[in-house]
Amino acid sequence: MNANVPSSTSHYPTAPTAQRDVTHTLSVLVDNEPGVLARVIGLFSGRGYNIESLTVSETEHAKHLSLITVVTTGTPMVIEQIKNQLDRLVPVHRVVDMTLSGRSIERELAMVKVRGKGDNRVEALRLADAFRARVIDATTESFVFEITGKSDKIEQFVALMLPLGLVEVSRTGIAAIARGPEGM
């Protein structure tokens, strides 16, 4: 076997069979202790994984548990890696792939500030009503709307507000939970 013997395959490595990227929502139950978020984020940045959305909050105070919901993209093999890598962090209790279970509900909350007068102001209110967004602050020249829903609904609402005087948006990121009676 030497380099002069022609090999059956090309001299150049063929590109790995292209796997398509997929998006998954992962629920990660962790000990609520200092540094745990840094571990999770450090894992993603250190290994070059994507974070599309990340939310963290305490779930059960007495048990010192927090829930991290992370939306990530990658090839199926990378998604499997991400789950396994998360699972091996010591303070991580469970990693549940909400997308795989296919039975999860995902919601996001956004606060949307719009500034305008006259027709734009009326139109903004009308659209807000159609999207079931609530007014949570108002001045004579502005509104802050609160809207909850799936991310695409929020994005659609924000896009509609843009020409009407969108000032800024503050979004919580995605929270997810499984349907049915069972817990994580």
Binding site: N2, N84, P91
Partner: protein, 586 residues
């Protein structure tokens, strides 16, 4: 035992309770209370190194040669940052360590205090887990938990960062019975259905092999014994990674030698052509797979690993089994026996014939010389003259490391200590210090290169101080040989900065450090000189002057497939052997 004591005393008490005999460390302001606690007792002996990196490598050698947890103590700031290379090395090679670092007092953390650094931040990606202790009440639990995490599951280094005020604080110490970390429960037993499917696949294999790795060593001596049993029962050929050498005896006829970039032709060809691959405790590293899309294209793959994240990372496998090697091997042996299965005799016969043909190519052959010492010859002689002794080998990183792996044959696990994953030059000398402490009566040899050895040379003083008769066997080729080889093959022989200029006179250096220096330049003198080295009951620096430009073969150039190896004497023009992509992979 429940008693009131200071945080500093708890550190030493916890070590004593964990059965720690030796602690490798270096003092400084932020750990002085712990040094007081060391002063006051005799159970845990402190070994004073010369650099904190040396402390970690020594603890690694100690751990790898005993299967126990290695312990390190360093001060805050520079003490901790100096330990980072060793910690990363231990993480890459799955070595169990507990490293205690001093920290500035709690109220000064974040203040840019003297010798402050964010130790938990810096070491988070290079430890299996780490802690900053903020309350004395947590310290006993954390200390014992650190040992538990370091040694269980896939082993690794754990850092416990202890602010100075916590070291002074008093609290109640007791050894906890259990750990509240409910999230951490390594899986030892493999899924029985998967193991059955694996055994079924193995019985119908026509060209099977075992590909084993460091996980078998991690799993303990019992895993090696079970592996031997299963290999005998099945009659399959076996190869191993660099990290797994010794788990299966090299003297056995079923042994094909190491695989991978510098592995034997027979091992790599068998990997390429097999129909069933049984991977046990190895992680499909890129030095093994070569070109991923051409890696063992026709085989069904079984992968046993305690860490689910090692499975399907680089190579997709057919039967994943998450579990400890010894546990899974036990099930495999039992199933194979009870089902009284026999591998297909005719196919196995043909397979072995094919393997013997590859063996006949003698891929490790080199051109002998009467003029200069060939590095391969030096290792062969070292092996012949030490194989009947109770010998442990450590190495630095480079060509000498690969020649050691190829020409020194290991019959037992835990006898071979090398830096595989990180490839840390400077690992071998301090590692040999740790090994010798653990095995005071044994012959401990660091197979070194003249460049690597200069990275942690100062630890020779540690060996002298503690009367550790380590033998540092330098294959002195006057080059960073591995770099020179790559430059020859990949960069048009432009030997940019790879010549070892201004080398010390190693014999005089040894003498200046109160060790023994020996130099050997002729093949005819070698046996005698090696015998002299073995006979000395003191640390020896052996300057073995070898061929300057010998290359390490066989070699799978990066970016190539297993069946595209370069052999030493094949006379191939090497210039166009490697693709541009291959250059990127080096």
């Amino acid at each position: 035992m429940t008693r009131e004591m200071t945080g500093a005393e708890m550190v030493i008490q916890a070590m004593a309770d964990q059965g720690v005999k030796h602690l490798f460390g270096y003092p400084g302001g932020a750990v002085l209370p712990i040094y007081d606690a060391i002063f006051a007792q005799k159970e845990v002996q402190h070994i004073l190194v010369r650099h904190e990196q040396g402390a970690v490598h020594a603890a690694e050698g100690y751990a790898r040669s005993t299967g126990k947890v290695g312990c390190v103590l360093v001060t805050s700031g520079p003490g901790a940052t100096n330990a980072v290379t060793g910690l990363t090395d231990a993480l890459c090679d799955s070595i169990p360590l507990v490293c205690i670092t001093g920290q500035v007092p709690t109220h000064l953390i974040g203040n840019d205090a003297f010798q402050e650094c964010d130790t938990v931040g810096i070491t988070r990606p290079c430890t299996k887990h780490n802690y900053l202790v903020k309350r004395i009440e947590d310290l006993p639990r954390i200390l014992h938990e650190a040992f538990h995490i370091a040694s269980s599951g896939r082993p690794g280094p754990v850092v416990v960062d202890i602010p100075k005020d916590i070291q002074f604080a008093k609290g109640v110490y007791s050894k906890p019975k259990e750990f509240p970390h409910t999230g951490y429960k390594p899986k030892l037993k493999g899924d029985l259905e998967a193991i059955k499917a694996a055994v079924e696949l193995m019985t119908h294999a026509k060209r099977p092999l075992f590909y084993t790795g460091g996980g078998v060593i991690n799993s303990g001596k019992n895993a090696s014994a079970l592996l031997r049993e299963l290999v005998k029962l099945t009659g399959f050929p076996i190869t191993s990674t660099l990290m797994g050498l010794g788990a299966f005896p090299a003297a056995d006829p079923q042994w094909m030698g190491m695989l991978g970039m510098h592995g034997t032709l027979e091992a790599n060809m068998a990997m390429h052509d097999c129909d069933v691959m049984v991977c046990i405790g190895a992680r499909f590293d890129d030095r093994i797979t070569g070109r991923v899309d051409a890696f063992s294209p026709g085989s069904k793959k079984i992968h046993v690993d305690i860490d689910a994240s090692s499975i399907n990372k680089n190579i997709k496998v057919d039967i994943p089994i998450v579990g400890d090697c010894a546990h899974v091997l036990e099930d495999m042996v039992r199933l194979w026996r009870t089902q009284a299965k026999q591998a297909d005799k005719k196919s196995m016969g043909d397979w072995w014939k094919q393997i013997d043909k590859w063996r006949a190519r003698k891929s490790l052959a080199y051109r002998a010389s009467n003029e200069v010492i060939k590095p391969q010859y030096a290792i062969q002689r070292l092996y012949e003259l030490t194989k009947d002794k109770d010998t442990y080998i450590t190495t630095e990183v480079g060509q000498h490391q690969m020649w050691a792996a190829q020409f020194y044959h290991f019959q037992e696990p835990n006898r071979w200590m090398t830096s595989g994953g990180l490839g840390t030059m400077g690992y071998g000398l301090p590692a040999s210090v740790g090994v010798q402490l653990a095995h005071p009566k044994s012959l401990v040899i660091d197979i070194a290169g003249e460049a690597s050895v200069q990275m942690t040379m100062q630890e020779l003083s540690t060996a002298v101080q503690y009367r550790l008769p380590i033998k540092i066997f330098i294959l002195n080729n006057g080059y960073m040989g591995m770099v020179r080889q790559w430059q020859e093959l990949l960069h048009g022989s432009r030997y940019s900065e790879s010549y070892s200029e201004a080398l010390p006179d190693f014999v005089k250096l040894a003498e200046a450090m109160h060790a023994v220096g020996i130099r050997c330049e002729k093949p005819g003198d070698l046996d005698h000189a090696i015998k002299d080295m073995i006979a000395v009951d003191r640390p020896v620096l052996f300057d073995c002057v070898v061929d300057k430009v010998e290359n390490c073969f066989p070699m799978i150039p990066s970016g190539k497939a297993h069946n595209e190896m370069i052999l030493g004497d094949s006379g191939v023009s090497l210039d166009d052997a490697i693709t541009e992509e291959g250059k990127m992979l080096v």
